[in-house]
């Protein structure tokens, strides 16, 4: 019976000792900031002194609030310079992160010929491959327009870009899509 007491004392001591390992956690700090979430994409089309701004904004990430999309109207037969800026929660600038990791990012563009008749990238990474934050387009001569799709791909295999149309995304490029947005662009004189 004496042994029994010893054993139970041992067990009890163990329980107390191990229980004491419990860490202090009076402040369960949550990560309120989504550091990587992209919440806003602003696309500026400029031709001379004229600037048209289109925005795609979704503050709650995967949440249920619908995005706010501001489409725009461009003039036919005009050459525009495109500048893209990307922001995260609380307006944090993400564009810079993309430029710093230019080799690992590219924005791909999808559009019908009723919208743009020519497209060219105006920026490139250290390997001479496009990034896509800056581009130049020429609009169609007819009024109308179409959908402009923009996909920011993280870790694309840029060598799989089609040589004639490097802005067109194809499955061989792979990677992960950080944003995939569509603007409804109108062409009107």
């Amino acid at each position: 019976m004496k042994n029994l007491h010893k054993i139970s004392a041992f067990l009890l001591a163990g329980a107390v000792f191990l229980g004491a390992c419990k860490k202090k956690k009076d402040d369960h700090d949550h990560d309120h900031n989504e550091q990587e979430l992209i919440t806003k994409v602003v696309v500026r089309f400029s031709s001379g002194s004229e600037t048209v701004t289109m925005t795609w904004q979704d503050d709650d990430g995967l949440g249920s609030n619908p995005p706010v999309i501001q489409n725009g109207t461009l003039k036919p037969s005009t050459t525009y310079d495109i500048d893209v800026s990307i922001a995260g929660e609380n307006g944090v600038d993400i564009t810079r992160e993309i430029i710093e990791e230019a080799n690992e990012h590219q924005i791909y563009y999808g559009f019908p010929s009723t919208l743009f008749t020519s497209f060219q990238y105006r920026d490139q990474d250290s390997n001479g491959k496009p990034i896509g934050l800056r581009a130049r387009v020429t609009t169609n001569s007819n009024a109308g327009g179409g959908n402009l799709q923009m996909i920011l791909v993280h870790n694309p295999i840029k060598s799989q870009n089609l040589s004639a149309t490097p802005w067109v995304y194809n499955p061989n490029i792979g990677g992960e899509q950080d944003f995939n947005i569509t603007f409804n662009v109108t062409l009107a004189p």
Partner: protein, 790 residues
């Protein structure tokens, strides 16, 4: 019910009217290891009866007259034993008998029995020694697949978790060395944090064992046990050296044990594993490497009236996640499905890059067993588990070294069980289980946690009683549980601390019946109640690799409402088993039927436009489902030849509209032909085998909605997709056949095993692999296993 009653009644009747009404019943164990011994020859004189113990080490002789008998026990490799007994009229003589091995080599016997027999009317299947040894070096899930009716739910070849009769994760329980495993088991890509080398006895309870083990045992229980500590004061042990060709994996394991002093003994066991990228027949599955470093130590003491044990183990693993299956947002999924091979394929490497998981799991346990003179045997155990899980993603802005998920789970369990001494024909136990756990998100990930912080405190009290006769047994059990859960959730940046109290009761009844020597019938009906896991209530986020947003039960229209009513999951499972054994034939059939009310299950409820494109939203809802099926196994021996066949089939659907439930196992049929010779010159246990596995296509799968349809979806199309219920993005993979061969032999304690898996290098995909959208299963794999017992 009526027929069961008649059966019982008929049996009692038969017993009453027999001339000689006594019986002899024995359970034979190996002395040192206390493992049940099958195939012991039992000769009872002067009757001249010769019997053999069954696979559970038991024998029984009915309708014996009063008088004196001599029982002779013999088995190859053991010292023979003689027992004299005086039998009175109507006496049901029962004895546990221990045979001493005449050579002290461990693992020279087939481990079939289990010391713990908590519910004997339960259908429990054991992994044979040979099957366990052949699967050394594989994951726990893969090892358990040898048991009929057990599948794996996997995330590639490196991560797999067991499925019993269609249920997995938080619906099955893993009892590792007597302790309920508490890790992040809610996650589909979270494998059990257990080193399989530490287990020497592996079994699965297929019935619902909620009364004995609590709510997690709704689908069944996986039991992993080491052997009892040695009694011999000589150092013994074993070493394994294993190589797999497919992922160029090397695996080293060592175990040592020794008894010392007065009743003391220790054991140390460790294993190290390193594997590189797996390979499908035509390409490398990039970033699927893994490494593990585990150890466990035990110290025990045994005295006449009590025994005590301290156990400590550490599991440490790092597992790569297929690069091409990373974020799995729906656009990436579209891309993957349209491609013949993953978009990212690189040359073989051992290096593990992001995405990857890093897991450390500690278990410390103190246990003791005390024999109380007039009461019974009291078992007490306390355990602390510490689980640390970090998941690393491919991130922007140099954040890849910061984990995207960092969870620490601490669990304390205390169990007290009193197994009372047999009183008349009653045997039973009374028990108490207490659990306290704390889940903590380590701050600094820069990502909203998928699972909030929470604490759980639960207590359960159970009573199980058996009315035991040599040829039949009736069992019943009751349990009462209480759980308090406190969650620290965040809604619109505001902290909420909802509390939940759950109370529930569970019942089980069972019956076991032996007809002649060779038929055993078991039937069991059990209820289990399960409160939802915090993950099922609160999780919200992208379901990795599956291309959908998942939302917990407490979400309403996309936002969290902690007061939203929900129900407890209630299951009623009936399972019966008929075993037949005669001469060279042995077979077993287990049909089962499980009704689960308020089954928590994800179904599409919305198609949501986000900055990453359109996503289907799968919300957890509660529906009544039915899971029913049959497991069958048969063995046939002819000389040195053996044929074994295993079959299992499951049909699962939502009761109301007969809708299929996603990720349920398809039909599976496995056949193995083996040639075995116990002793061949100086070689022992030489065997050759051919195994063929057939897995059918899951025809009862949800309909297919191609992910391309979500591209630019109209409101009408959205409504139409949602109105038609559950869906999957790709048809269930086709049926496949897999061949494997192997050979094994032992020379002076030195065993060599050679196996070739997926012999034909078959290209296939499996419905229960979460990467079925991305890549093929692994190709041919040569396995070489060397082991030495000293």
């Amino acid at each position: 019910m009526k027929s069961i009653f008649l059966l019982v009644w008929g049996f009692l009747w038969g017993e009453l009217y027999a001339q000689c009404t006594a019986s002899i019943h024995g359970h034979i164990f190996q002395k040192d290891t206390k493992i049940s011994l099958p195939e012991v020859q039992v000769r009872i004189e002067p009757l001249g009866k010769v019997l053999q113990t069954n696979i559970e080490g038991e024998f029984a002789l009915e309708n014996v007259c009063e008088g004196e008998y001599q029982v002779f026990l013999e088995k190859e490799g053991f010292l023979p034993l003689q027992i004299v007994l005086q039998l009175k009229k109507n006496e049901h003589f029962h004895k546990d008998i221990f045979l001493q091995a005449d050579n002290q080599q461990i693992a020279s016997v087939e481990v079939l029995g289990n010391m713990e027999k908590p519910l004997s009317t339960q259908t429990q299947s054991f992994l044979s020694r040979q099957e366990l040894e052949l699967s050394r070096g594989k994951t726990l899930g893969e090892t358990l697949k040898n048991i009929t009716g057990v599948y794996t739910f996997s995330t590639g070849a490196g991560i797999s978790k067991p499925i019993i009769h269609g249920l997995h994760s938080q619906r099955i329980m893993i009892l590792n060395n007597g302790i309920r495993q508490e890790g992040q088991q809610w996650g589909e890509e979270h494998a059990p944090e257990i080193d399989v080398f530490s287990a020497e006895q592996v079994s699965v309870i297929k019935g619902a064992a909620g009364v004995r083990y609590g709510s997690d045992a709704m689908g069944g229980v996986v039991i992993l046990n080491p052997l009892p500590l040695p009694t011999e004061k000589k150092l013994h042990g074993k070493v394994y050296l294993i190589g797999h060709s497919n992922n160029r994996m090397g695996n080293l394991a060592l175990q040592m044990e020794k008894a010392f002093g007065k009743g003391w003994a220790w054991r140390w066991q460790g294993s190290a594993k390193r594997g590189g990228d797996f390979r499908s027949p035509t390409y490398v599955l990039s970033n699927t490497g893994m490494q593990e470093l585990n150890f466990a130590a035990t110290l025990g003491v045994e005295r006449k009236k009590w025994q005590a044990e301290a156990y400590f183990s550490r599991y440490d693993a790092e597992i790569g996640i297929l690069r091409a299956a990373h974020t799995g947002n729906i656009n990436d999924l579209t891309v993957s499905i349209s491609r013949p091979q993953p978009w990212y394929v690189a040359p073989f490497t051992y290096e593990i890059q992001n995405p990857r998981q890093k897991i450390v799991h500690y278990l410390a346990k103190l246990s003791s067993k005390i024999t109380l003179n007039h009461l019974g045997i009291l078992s007490l155990q306390y355990a602390l588990q510490w689980n640390d899980r970090k998941e690393f993603d491919i991130r922007r802005g140099g954040r890849s070294t910061i984990p995207a998920l960092s969870l620490q789970l601490q669990t304390h369990t205390l169990d007290a069980i009193l197994e009372h001494h047999a009183w008349k024909n009653f045997r039973g136990s009374l028990g108490l289980n207490i659990l306290w756990q704390d889940n903590y998100n380590v701050p600094g990930t820069g990502i909203t946690p998928l699972l909030p912080n929470f604490t759980n405190f639960s207590q359960g009290l159970f009573w199980i009683e058996r009315f035991v006769k040599p040829a039949y047994e009736i069992e019943w059990g009751l349990r009462y549980d209480f759980r308090h859960t406190e969650v620290q959730a965040v809604r619109n940046r505001l902290r909420l601390t909802p509390n939940y109290q759950f109370h529930w009761k569970t019942v089980t009844v069972g019956y076991w019946y032996r007809k002649w020597r060779n038929v055993v019938i078991k039937t069991n009906l059990a209820t289990t109640v399960r409160p939802p896991h915090t993950a099922e209530l609160f999780s919200q986020g992208l379901h990795l690799g599956i291309g959908n947003i998942q939302e917990g039960l407490l979400f309403e229209g996309g936002s969290l409402n902690p007061d939203k009513p929900f129900a407890l999951e209630k299951s009623y499972k009936w399972i019966s088993t008929v075993q037949y054994q005669k001469n060279a034939w042995q077979w077993e059939i287990s049909p089962y039927h499980q009704w689960i009310d308020n089954f928590i299950y994800a179904t599409p409820t919305d198609i949501r436009l986000t900055i990453q494109g359109y996503f289907p939203v799968f919300s957890y809802v509660q529906k009544d489902v039915v899971l029913r099926g049959i497991d069958a196994m048969q063995k046939f021996y002819q000389g040195n030849w053996q044929w074994q066949s295993k079959f299992s089939y499951l049909n699962a659907f939502v009761r109301k509209n007969k809708e299929a439930v996603i990720n349920m196992p398809p039909l599976r049929w496995e056949n193995k032909i083996a040639w075995e010779r116990k002793s061949w010159g100086k070689l022992q246990n030489t065997s050759f085998f051919v195994n063929v596995l057939y897995v059918a296509k899951q025809n009862n799968a949800p309909r297919v909605v191609e992910p391309t349809r979500f591209g630019n979806i109209s409101t009408e199309e959205k409504q139409q997709i949602l109105s038609e219920g559950s869906f999957d993005f790709m048809p269930a993979p086709s049926a496949y056949w897999l061949w494997s061969i192997g050979a094994s032999t032992t020379y002076k304690g030195f065993t060599t095993n050679v196996q070739v898996e997926n012999l034909a290098n078959t290209i296939y995909r499996d419905y229960l692999n979460r990467w079925r959208y991305y890549a093929n299963e692994i190709g041919r794999n040569f396995i070489l296993q060397l082991s030495y017992i000293f």
